[in-house]
Symmetry: C2
Subunit: 572 residues, 2 copies
Amino acid sequence: MSFTPPTADQILAIKVSAGIDDIAQAERFAAATPDMVEAIVEGIGAFAAGEWAPLHRAGDQIGAKWKDGVVTMPPGYVAAYKDFVAQGWGSIAGPQAFGGQGLPFTLATAVMETLGAANMGFTLLPILTVGAIEAIDHHGSDAQKALYLPKLISGEWSGTMNLTEPQAGSDVGALRTTATPIVDGPHAGKYRIAGTKIYITFGEHDGAENIIHLVLARTPGAPEGSRGISLFVVPKFHLDADGNPGERNDVQCVSIEHKLGIHASPTCVMSYGDNAECIGEMIGHENGGLRAMFTMMNSARINVGSQGVQIAERALQQASAYARDRIQSARAGSPDKTPVSIVEHPDVRRMLMRMRALTEGSRALLYYTAGQVDRGTLGDGAAQMRAELLVPMLKAWGTDIGCEVASLGIQVHGGMGFVEETGAAQHYRDARIAPIYEGTNGIQAADLVTRKLGYENGGVLQALMAQIASEMEDVPEVAALAKDAAAIGQWMSTTASLDDKLAGSVPFTTMCAVAVAGWQLGRQSRASGLHAKTAVTKFFNRVIVPEARGLGSSAMSGAALLYDLDTDALVG
Amino acid sequence: MSFTPPTADQILAIKVSAGIDDIAQAERFAAATPDMVEAIVEGIGAFAAGEWAPLHRAGDQIGAKWKDGVVTMPPGYVAAYKDFVAQGWGSIAGPQAFGGQGLPFTLATAVMETLGAANMGFTLLPILTVGAIEAIDHHGSDAQKALYLPKLISGEWSGTMNLTEPQAGSDVGALRTTATPIVDGPHAGKYRIAGTKIYITFGEHDGAENIIHLVLARTPGAPEGSRGISLFVVPKFHLDADGNPGERNDVQCVSIEHKLGIHASPTCVMSYGDNAECIGEMIGHENGGLRAMFTMMNSARINVGSQGVQIAERALQQASAYARDRIQSARAGSPDKTPVSIVEHPDVRRMLMRMRALTEGSRALLYYTAGQVDRGTLGDGAAQMRAELLVPMLKAWGTDIGCEVASLGIQVHGGMGFVEETGAAQHYRDARIAPIYEGTNGIQAADLVTRKLGYENGGVLQALMAQIASEMEDVPEVAALAKDAAAIGQWMSTTASLDDKLAGSVPFTTMCAVAVAGWQLGRQSRASGLHAKTAVTKFFNRVIVPEARGLGSSAMSGAALLYDLDTDALVG
């Protein structure tokens, strides 16, 4: 199945929802001219369609392979990754001091969206590297930055994030990996790392010259829980005096998971210090590891929310092509009994419109969020807080719609959709990880109602919903949804218990996300005057928005409804 | 993952929603005493849990294998199928004249539900056989009945349904398989069948002594489209003079599909008449094939709707066990910092309550429908029409919630859910076929709004919704939903164009199904007084029912919304 990058819609979203021209007013981002925006979006589109998309099926069917600690990417992946490095696509938003282009995050978002739509599993490799760059850039010493950032930014080296352990999933504070200070010898001042980490994406592979693991671990005597965690950088190969990969560090990939999807991406079990010789350096302050990880989380969560958009785009393209080419049955009620393309049948058309509305709506939310991040970077505190409010909405709803659109994509194909050769099923399998990793969608919703809703005593959410209700006065569905969300937010900020908030958190998150998406689609529709955008927006308003309003009862139903049935009766 | 048959909830649904005691008042079904109901539900539960459930994983991981036209079921399946035959589970509702037990369809429904929850893919084998039994019983000659029914009812032989061809999916009328009358020789009066059929479930396998294919084909000069189709019985092995399997007929399984799920069930491409020697007999009248197939459809569609309930039950059990055993994080806001079972966390609990509400709600709809079928069999014309109205609701919504519950089951598992060894992913993959086969859910919704809604000029639907609204006066959510559905039904019956009806058909079908499910849960709750049922019902009313009301805008949004974007703009 070929892939056509959604260039025009991305540029529209970058202009209207991210507001790139406004962002480019700042000297720091002055390079983000309209020409540059087009060059990047079109350039990455051509690269992704030409080099990464053709590898998508093999990634699924062959997948990454583990043998004796060595992980081999599927055929063609190493060469395609080296081309990505050579063309500099990993360096868009990286700091200029270390070889990055220093462009807005919005444009890096476009690069990741396009690569991921071409090949979701593969794109986890640069996504993870971006996380490592951010952690080192924000928390590393000057020496560490100089050592690691240039090669990570170029992509010659890749990065990983090591949080999870078997007993420490959503509860990162339960981790047990240890970091023991080294007092003497050549590694004095560094740490000996020991422990096992699971679910480490691209923890081992053959595409980069070195792999820079960022590892959360505990120093001796550290406080229990999440306040006793420090962050360490653990290179696969130690760096020699010239900063080049030298001897192998004591870190091994002991196995990879057999997963439902994203088979191109090796999900590794990593063992640190089997021979007590795993050496790492601390990044930032002792016990400051979780805060350092949080630095990486905003962009990582945005990139995962974007994966929902990506899978949706890909599934939509595939279903659209099928619906156009598949001829079956005459139009119901038509005197002409000639069979037609199934896209002409109302319910198939409804599914495609729904797929498109969800895809474009989530993309609008994605770029609105990215734009707020860039404004925050430029010192706009309100935008920074709004960005943080938006991140859980985007991550949760974006990944939910990714699954829904992929499922609709199968349905459009009928029986063919269930046959693996068609490729529609791969989207459905790949999409399913995104609501889970990088903080489950339940964790996102909890973040929204317990942390982000607290910003300015609920004021940050209220301001957003008030702006939506006011700008969308002429779109009663969206205005009503924003008012519903504001009212529920108000209840959560004042009356609701913590349990009540958590009980309603997921439906509330969806309502907020849909309100923002509807708003941004409306803005894009007005700004562009494009008939296609207006039609899709109208569908979104008439179908998707009222459904989100239907979640209001659930969002406010409170915890008592959940605990009425006691635990034994519920789960035996 | 072990399987516990949901015996108590099935018996409650059989009593309250099917109304078995009422049905057993009729002499024909007098054997369906409370003792018999319990014996069947508990007996099939023990059999399914003991013999079919343990084969569930191997069915997925090994699957059915094709080699040189021979299809081998996964290890253990043949023996387990023979035990099913030996214990007589296939004969529950079969006609007594041919060895069946003549019990109500409701009890056969319980048998299929339990078997399918234990092993969905495997259970397609008896489901298809039931379809063949019904077609031959209703449309075959006395000689055909005598030849085929006893062995099909016992299960020693299995049945298939052959409709689909590459160019004839939802549009059965486009099929091209031919049936040429044989004038002379030993097969005079029979037909030579030639053509290729696809998606033939258990078209070939090693579990039965003979396979009785029911094949739709065209006789020479037959009218075009669906009015020119006849039904033929084509045994894999010709029957000898004693009615035993003899020489091989000219029908071959040329390949099986590589599918997303239900790997235990071979999905066959069947080739009839490669050597021009495929012999079949006509069932019923020439050109009456589609009507004969419709006979089989009600029960087949009920059994497929049931598959949603089955997967939901299985996914719920697996997620419940995981949520009980997995310890992670202290309760938010609790002074006690000890980690707890994740079921104690509000959002995990919400997911499990949702899974349970959808599972029990769809089961309530299943048995209400089955009970109406039995009443129809007893001559109650209103119940017969109501059953036909309910079938598309059950098939569509039942299979939709199967997918949703399986997806939630993965989410409850977190990262583990995405790892195939856990087994949660199998449910998600298996579930996805059910909205597609046996008439896609779009076809179900079209059947509801174009055919069933027309019964008594909309009166059958209006009567159902009026009854719900009236009996549920004290449950405002359900009453309101029934009134919404009645109003939309009224609009569809009067003002709406055919396109408008079709455009809103899927959300309307969901609304109707949820209204019936909420009603039946309410009846079960009142009748049983069980706290668990009351709590689940309350959740259903507060969460699921308002969401269904949120579909009203979509159901009434009309076709113009879908065709505003022209075809080229929509699908390029």
